[in-house]
């Protein structure tokens, strides 16, 4: 195909060259013709000049007149006055000859004739004779007598003249003939030249036409080939596109397939962590969880990319509190930052002119998190700063988010490759730091979908600053979702609900049920849609957690059927699925589901769901929490009181006290262990111990201790911190004992 196109191109180019040559040749020929035309015109004008007296005719006339005069004179001499010839006739004849002589002398003959020396000589000789005999005729005209001898002399001279005139006639005739022949041959040459030139021109035009035809044919063929090529390309493109779509589909499916067992792993690990485990085992479980999380992140990234490559970047505009978003986002990476020994800094302006903006909080957080994760990943023992600024220019507002680090940096040559998919600065990077290399591509796509721009400034070895700017509009503060509330809510104890968990996967069942029980919930398990319906018919539930894909009867259909039951309207049904597409949401909504949660199932998510359901079941309680968000100190107290009340309700007063005692015993052991692992380098052990303390503290409702332990997990665990923790434990113990 390409070969064919190239061949066509060659043919056209060659034909063009030939055409040019032919054109040049034609122009040259035309010039030649023009010159020839000029020559012809010139010759014609000489012909016009030549409209003169006919030399041969004049000479002939002269000869004739001379003969007549001679005859007359001869007759007159022979017969005398008896001849009857009047003297007047004689003189008139001479006068006529004389006038003829004048003509020969003065008339405009052809130039060559006049200039011919021989003719000149001959005419001069004749002239002498004619003018030499003027006297006797003048005398005769005057009526005088002329002697016969004189007339005889005239007769003799005329005799000689006749010889001369005859010679002149012959000579002139010859000259005229020669001249005509020469002229004709000259004209002939010119004609031949013209014919040759015209012939060449015709040939040239013929070639031109031929060549143009050939060119046209080639052009048409090339056009057809191009068309065919375009069709072929289009087909290939469609095939490639189909292939690509299939790939994306495959990626999405695989991602989903991988995510499901991963959820199970992560959930199990999290559950295990909450149990009291031997130390070695706990570290192992933590490793499982951390690696699992990393793997999940990777898969999420790939899925995100597949989705974006498909062309759908969903941007959902909602009011967003900038400060809360920044704070919560940075919290999410605090652990990882401290693992790498990095100091996390948040630089926000004191006052935002637009504290609440209209944007997509999920996407904003996703980009910021990605940039922060990268910064942390490539920085060791440095500083990572998240800086948010408002660029309020004359036009619409603009939010600028900067993530600076003091990490390895990027050289200029590699910066261009940064935002390309699957590219990392170099292969050694991927070996050392891992990652898909998709993060920045995804960020770029999202930022562009939000009409913003993204960029980076970097110096190798000094660090990088990644930034993005998106145009934003201010939103009304009431509409803002307070992301800060989540953490507070997390600590709020939950009311026990009667929950039906519909899940086919045994491990997922175990995890979710474990979480729910841990959250103090009453759980019943159904293995598929049918079981769910029969369970619902026999019992009354506050909440149904419905898996989407199940054998026998899937979540959507089960929901429809439950909604169709007499009591099926009131219950909250939340879909649990790894498919988070808009279509799934729509399907769920249409089937009558109350809400939608993506897998993996985590404790906070479940807590959130339960809290929301609680609000519906008993709006009064949640309203009070929302209406007056407690201050931090009293919040912990309230938490403790609630927890205590709940636990006492569940275990009795003695049971709760025993629980408290065992907690403080455990805490003391942890403190001892923390002290013995004085080396701050053994981060993992310290983290594990702090995590254990956090979990234990949270389970008995000691929020402040849990929070402190959690906070100390990021950054170096200094002896100062250990002391602080010890003090806190003592203080709480005293307070509770009082």
């Amino acid at each position: 195909m390409i070969k064919q196109a190239r061949h066509n191109g060659d043919v056209i180019r060659r034909a063009s060259k030939t055409t040019v040559v032919l054109q040049v040749f034609s122009v040259a020929l035309l010039l030649g013709l023009a010159f020839m035309a000029v020559d012809i015109v010139k010759r014609y004008s000489t012909l016009q000049d030549g409209i003169r007296e006919n030399a041969l005719w004049s000479v002939y006339q002269f000869d004739r007149e001379a003969r007549r005069l001679h005859e007359l004179v001869h007759l007159y001499l022979a017969q005398g006055p008896q001849s009857g010839i009047a003297v007047k006739t004689l003189t008139t004849r001479y006068d006529i000859l004389y006038s003829r002589m004048n003509i020969l002398e003065q008339a405009n003959f052809e130039r060559q004739f006049v200039l011919n020396p021989e003719i000149g000589q001959r005419i001069a000789a004749i002239q002498d004779t004619v003018y030499g005999i003027v006297a006797p005729f003048d005398a005769l005209a005057a009526g005088k007598d002329v002697a016969k001898e004189q007339l005889l002399e005239v007769d003799g001279k005329l005799e000689t003249l006749l010889g001369a005139t005859e010679d002149l006639v012959i000579f002139t005739n010859n000259w005229v003939s020669t001249n005509r022949a020469e002229k004709r041959s000259g004209l002939m040459t010119l004609q031949v030249q013209t014919v040759v030139l015209v012939g060449l021109l015709v040939a040239c035009v013929f070639f031109l036409i031929f060549n143009l035809r050939r060119q046209l044919r080639s052009v048409r063929r090339a056009g057809l080939d191009l068309e065919a090529m375009a069709t072929e390309l289009n087909e290939s493109y469609l095939a490639a596109e189909a292939g690509n779509r299939a790939k994306s589909q495959f990626m999405a499916t695989m991602g989903h397939e991988v995510r499901t067992p991963l959820n199970a792993i992560l959930g199990t690990a999290e559950l295990l962590e909450l149990q009291t485990l031997p130390q070695g085992m706990l570290a192992g479980v933590q490793t499982i969880r951390r690696s699992g999380n990393a793997l999940l992140e990777l898969i999420n990234e790939i899925l995100d990319y597949a989705k974006i490559e498909h062309g759908n970047v969903d941007v959902e505009m909602r009011p967003v509190g900038v400060r809360a978003l920044a704070e919560s986002t940075i919290e999410m990476v605090r652990d990882r930052a401290s693992e790498n020994g990095n100091l996390l800094e948040l630089a926000l302006p004191d006052n935002f002119t637009m504290p609440v903006i209209l944007s997509d909080p999920t996407r904003l957080r996703q980009i910021t998190l990605n940039l922060l994760s990268n910064a942390i990943k490539f920085t060791k023992d440095g500083v990572v700063t998240l800086r948010i600024a408002e660029l309020v220019t004359s036009g619409p507002g603009c939010l600028r988010v900067e993530v600076s680090d003091t990490g390895i940096g990027i050289d200029n040559a590699s910066i261009d490759k940064l935002f390309q998919p699957f590219s990392q600065v170099d292969s050694s990077i991927s070996r050392k730091y891992g990652g898909t290399g998709l993060g920045l591509t995804i960020c770029k796509q999202i930022v562009e979908a939000m009409d913003g721009r993204i960029g980076v400034e970097s110096v190798r070895g000094k660090g990088s600053t990644f930034w993005f700017e998106i145009p934003v509009k201010p939103a009304r503060i009431e509409e803002s979702e307070d992301h800060g509330m989540h953490d507070a809510q997390a600590a709020v104890a939950l009311k026990t609900l009667h929950i039906l968990l519909v899940e086919d996967n045994a491990v997922n069942q175990q995890v979710a049920a474990g979480f729910l029980r841990h959250l103090g919930q009453n759980v019943k398990i159904a293995n598929d849609g049918f079981e769910a319906i029969s369970a619902f018919e026999n019992d009354k539930f506050d909440l149904i957690l419905m898996d989407m894909q199940m054998p026998n009867l899937d979540g959507i259909e089960a929901t429809r059927r439950i909604r169709a039951l007499p009591d099926g309207q009131a219950v909250s049904i939340i879909a649990m699925t790894a498919n988070a597409s808009e279509d799934d949401r729509r399907l769920c909504h249409e089937a009558g589901m109350t809400g939608f949660e993506t897998k993996p199932v985590t404790m906070p998510k479940l807590r959130d769901i339960i809290a929301r359901t609680e609000q519906i079941v008993d709006p009064g309680q949640m309203a009070s929490v929302k209406a007056a968000p407690p201050e931090r100190d009293s919040e912990f107290d309230t938490l403790y009181e609630q927890r205590r009340a709940e636990l006492i309700e569940a275990l009795g007063e003695e049971g709760f006290n025993e629980l408290l005692d065992s907690f403080f015993e455990d805490a003391r052991e942890i403190i001892l262990k923390l002290r013995s692992t004085a080396s701050p380098k053994d981060q993992q052990t310290i983290d594990h111990l702090l995590h254990a303390m956090k979990g234990a503290a949270a389970s008995v409702g000691l929020g402040e201790i849990a929070a402190t332990a959690q906070a100390f997990r990021s950054g170096d665990f200094s002896p100062g911190r250990l002391e602080e923790l010890e003090h806190l434990l003592d203080a709480q113990k005293h307070r509770l004992a009082a």
């Binding site: 409209i51 006919n54 006529i96 004389y98 006038s99 004048n102 003509i103 008339a107 405009n108």
Partner: protein
């Protein structure tokens, strides 16, 4: 002068002549006869059935003067003499063809229109002087080369008869 106006002028001139000179016999020539006009039915014949003219009679007719070059003279030459049509009109001639006959019996046949449509003259003088036989005299049929350069070609050269003695009019 364009062709149309020339034609109009000619027609007017011819018309005025016919009106101004009603059929009346020519006077007899008093001097030497230098031109004889013959024709089948000359209205103004003065010598038998021919009309004869001497120099004075010709001088009295409508004339024209024109300076021009000819193939038989050198340089620009001024010719003057009666218009051919004036002569023919004076003779009361009419016909289709004219035969101009010279002293040496050379003759040329010209269409009658050459007299009516062109200001053809029978030149009597050249550069103000009478023309002798030695100078192509006494009469020289001169076409108006000065008024119409397209006449300057061999066709009219052949018709330019000099040393004229007779004009024969025929149908």
């Amino acid at each position: 002068m364009n062709a149309l106006s020339k034609l109009t002028a000619t027609i007017l001139a011819v018309a005025s002549f016919t009106i101004a000179s009603p059929a009346r016999a020519l006077d007899k020539p008093t001097g030497d006869v230098i031109l004889t006009v013959r024709g089948p039915d000359l209205k103004n014949a003065n010598a038998g059935d021919t009309a004869q003219f001497d120099r004075d009679m010709l001088q009295a007719l409508e004339k024209r003067t024109g300076a021009m070059e000819t193939p038989w003279t050198s340089g620009k030459v001024e010719f003057s003499g009666p218009l051919l049509r004036a002569v023919l009109s004076a003779a009361g001639a009419h016909g289709q063809k004219l035969k101009i006959i010279a002293l040496n019996d050379y003759s040329a046949e010209i269409p009658y229109e050459d007299a009516t449509k062109l200001d053809t003259m029978l030149a009597l003088t050249m550069n103000g002087k009478d023309m002798s036989v030695r100078d192509k005299g006494p009469l020289f049929l001169v076409y108006p080369f000065d008024l119409d350069p397209s006449l300057f070609n061999e066709k009219y050269f052949a018709r330019s008869v000099w040393q004229i003695k007779e004009i024969e009019v025929s149908e």
